[in-house]
Subunit: 586 residues, 2 copies
């Protein structure tokens, strides 16, 4: 007699996002699980896990039934469901309902140019788009260009009813799900089914669509949580280790690289999730106070915005004990200022990219550093960090050989591991540009210090080559940002007949500051050159003081925009080569 | 032009034990990683991660080369490598070298009967056996019966040289690896390659061989670590959350269900691992003091041994802050006594079995319980617990329907998930006895309380059926163990013409106690019946005071042995049915 086994429930039990969302509703059905407050409309919802999960189930039925969304299988994507939405409970519902029926979620980056947004929608061939009321005007602007691709639109708003619009086939989200059953028999999909399609910001050419399977996102989440379990937390153990009682606020848009993974870790952890719609400084402070938020992830420019805000002392932000900073290097000066303004605040740096889903490298205090003085720990926490558990990360020279751990030799970061994207959707040539020799090539430069910390040096394309040397622009930016009078600083290369390129610092000052370009160079001379962190020839030849530094859609310094508008910056830049601090040419 | 992708380094990056062992040597090469002290021989070794890893590499080469061990592939096991060994650095080396070359590790349970040991070796068809010097006499005893199966023996000892023995083909471990290279280019195996073969203790019939793939052990480890990251730690946050700086001592033998997973989590976590060879109470205390051990996992009977030890106050055991108790229910009385003896000690219960690798169910303080008073938390910590993250655990009735969460209805625990064994090796009929309807059937009974906690009731075969009711023997045992005068207690059913069975309590008293059977029943009446934890009819009809309770090879109460020697226990048992506390028949 033949006896069957059940590999699908044992050795090959599928790793699915479905598993994450089933946990909180099982063990905490009547506790508040998802909080959403819209700073603009004033809407404020506090959903129990049961209610939120029922909404996911209803959405799943509506996707399958009324919207006829078809599932995929390994190697063939399911129907693509686009979202043009902020951080709301509805967006989080889409994050589960779409992949868990086997379809592919395409979180559209609404901060791209219209041309790029249209490109990603047409390239992804989105069948349906879920759109927030605030984003509707943008969608109306591009409608003619995508009308052959998208068949249906779903309107998401805190106010009932449909708006006046020329968009056809517009369904109201709440009406769509209202009559559907609150239970769903989620399928045991193949774990290699594609769950998400995330486009890069396209700073060079058109955006590229990175694909991720359920297995990949599941494993990224598990490894991130496993890493949490071995983090060494010097000094502030008692406050940082909150377990299920952490209250994360998701500031990073869900259309940016899975919101840095937060929609997965927080749901599986059954933590109370706070969704702020869009970011405003005041809204941020209000929500932290009301919901006792403990943890946030932000980009450096948002950190700078917080520092500028003069009403800090009107809010009780003492619950906030843990912040991750990513999407750009974390200047030590910025970290120090933040921790001065918010005594319980502890920040660490991180690195990742769309193609890595994004968990890659993060701040880590190694076991023997735990007893170090705070100043030394601080320096460790802003070194970009150690690779994620389970990921292979190397910094290699042009022959693909790992550079020595000497904190000097610059190489390119290459990565491979369970959650690195396998390929750009429908773009084998562009995939081949980054995936070769068995490694994904990030295009980012770094050094490795004696402890194995990967220290980001620069984007390959942002590198300044001055003479035979490469100027470490990120290091310069971090040093300048340490000055009390500085808000932000970006450093780019400017063509020079002698040196090839020379560095120009574009600097915005803190409100009320009367600092001069000379002050910037003097500060660098004292805190950079004299301390040995940089050499004299790295000092910026040009310093341009400006009210605002151009940024990309994800809040990074847009160096491409600076280079494209170079005359405008050169016009206000001061040539520092005659200053006393400036070195004689050697 | 065809562009290839690299699924083997992205979407299908294999989940291998290899990944675990590479981490500590990369980031902590010169720190002490593996400590081994043999309480008997006095050998004491403190190996850096670099040295330990080099030994694993050397062993890998020796296995492949000199011993000609062949790798397997999905569906076909590699050569089986048996170990008859205690918890030493060498055994930990075998735990990695054997699976990471693609072969299958068979940790032989040397506490089984000789007949069963012979059976497992012949059934597994072990090609080679690695044997500790202390276990050599046992191996010599059974040599004739396994000589046709095993070709080579490797002798592991802290003293150089080979012993006088009649065993042929005996190689010395240290000599075997000495000349091999200290680096190894570990293969990227298929993650579905079988890594281990672990036999059950065979309380019913011959032992059964549960198989586990790399993927399964990897995922068990990841989920266990992820769970750590969300544990809520009321009151004792600062001490329990030690991250990489935890110092685990591995008391559970590595031949018991992967030493409860410790060889995997501790290596990946780069924690300092303390291996005590075999367990002795004095050796335990000495090692805790010398190595500042923070964490141990033990069975209840070892906990009872610790309590009996009168020299506790001669040692500084203050580093010990975290203990897991498994392999049997954790009586609240035992927990309370331990915490009284060791103020920093915090214990929680757990449940698992060979077939579940074993992580299944463990103590967990739910988020809203964190502020509860210690007494209430204590009760939570000895409820068997919540399922592991990522595992489906249900308690079902005879129709396979989950029982209500009412803390009353008893059902059978069924499990499925990524690390449940798919099958017993070469035993499809026995596999079919436990794997059906898509679930692995544990044969263990439990209730589920209102919070979703699975509370172990009994082994199916240990259940006492008295009248139409089932007597919860584990609950009775736990209640009896709360009495100050009690060391251990087991409850079994005795045939009875009226009731079918009646419960008999077999009790050992603490040294020096003069308690009587009446005291046992009075204690149960006061702390069980009057508090509503049990009903009157559950009181044991018979109480037998004995010096020692029979135990299985893994330290559990051996109820089968009690039943087989029933006359002996009945001879010393007192019939309590005439006592005042005894209820009138109803």
């Amino acid at each position: 007699m033949e006896h069957r086994t059940f590999p699908e429930f044992s050795t090959n039990y599928p790793l699915l996002l479905t598993t994450f969302m089933k946990r909180p509703v099982r063990y905490y059905p009547d506790q508040i699980g998802v909080v959403y407050r819209n700073h603009v409309s004033g809407a404020y919802q506090r959903l129990t896990w049961r209610v939120w999960y029922q909404r996911v189930c209803r959405l799943g039925h509506a996707l399958q039934g009324r919207l006829k969304i078809k599932p995929g299988q390994p190697g063939r994507l399911g129907d693509r469901v686009g979202t043009m939405a902020y951080n709301t409970h509805r967006h989080l519902e889409l994050y589960y309902a779409v992949p868990c029926i086997g379809a592919t979620l395409h979180p559209i980056n609404i901060r791209l140019s219209e041309e790029h947004i249209v490109y990603t929608i047409k390239h992804a061939q989105d069948t349906v788009i879920f759109v927030d009321d605030m984003v509707l005007p943008l969608l109306e602007n591009i409608y003619e260009r995508i009308q052959d691709t998208v068949q249906v639109f779903v309107y998401m708003s805190d106010k009932p009813g449909l708006p006046q619009t020329r968009l056809p086939n517009l369904i109201e989200y709440e009406e769509l799900i209202a009559a559907e059953p609150g239970q769903f028999d989620w399928p045991y999909l193949d774990e290699d089914t594609t769950a998400t399609l995330c486009y890069t910001t396209g700073t060079t050419g058109q955006p590229k669509g990175a694909t991720f399977t359920h297995r990949q996102l599941y494993l990224m989440t598990l490894h991130s949580m496993a890493r949490q379990s071995i983090v060494n937390t010097p000094g502030f153990v008692a406050v940082e280790r909150l377990g299920e009682n952490a209250v994360p606020m998701l500031n990073t848009p869900l259309f940016h690289i899975h919101g840095w993974g937060a929609p997965f870790t927080t749901v599986f952890s059954a933590q109370k999730i706070v969704l702020p719609g869009t970011f405003t400084v005041r809204g941020f402070c209000e929500l932290v106070e009301r919901e006792k938020v403990t943890s946030v992830g932000i980009v450096p420019t948002i950190a700078a915005l917080l520092l500028e805000f003069t009403d800090f002392d009107k809010y009780d932000l003492s619950s906030l004990v843990n912040v991750g900073v990513g999407g750009g290097a974390l200047p030590l000066g910025l970290k120090t200022k933040l921790e001065k303004a918010l005594p319980h605040f502890r920040a660490g740096s991180g690195y990742g990219m769309t193609e890595t889903a994004p968990a890659s490298i993060g701040a880590f205090v190694k076991k023997h550093m735990v007893q170090w003085p705070k100043e030394a720990i601080d320096e460790v926490m802003v070194k970009t960090g150690l690779p994620s558990l389970g990921l292979e990360v190397e910094v290699v020279d042009e022959q693909g050989v790992p550079v020595p751990w000497n904190n000097q030799t610059v190489g390119e970061i290459v990565i491979r591991g369970p959650w690195v994207t396998k390929e750009y959707y429908k773009a084998p040539e562009r995939t081949a540009e980054v995936w070769y020799d068995g490694w994904f090539h990030t295009g980012d430069l770094a050094k490795v210090d004696e402890e194995g910390f990967v220290v980001i040096a620069d984007r390959l394309k942002d590198v300044i080559r001055s003479g035979a040397e490469m100027v470490p622009t990120v290091l310069l930016e971090n040093l300048i940002a340490m000055a009390d009078f500085v808000l932000e600083a970006a450093v780019v290369g400017v063509p020079d007949p002698v040196w090839g390129e020379v560095p120009m610092a574009v600097v915005s000052l803190r409100p009320g500051s009367a600092a001069t370009p000379e002050d910037v160079v003097d500060f660098l001379a004292e805190h950079g050159v004299q301390t040995g962190r940089i050499t004299k020839w790295m000092l910026p030849r040009l310093v341009a003081l400006t009210r605002e530094i151009p940024k990309t859609s994800v809040g990074k310094y847009d160096k491409k925009a600076i280079r494209e508008n170079l005359p405008q910056f050169l016009a206000i830049a001061k040539d520092m080569s005659r200053q006393p601090a400036w070195p004689a040419p050697t």
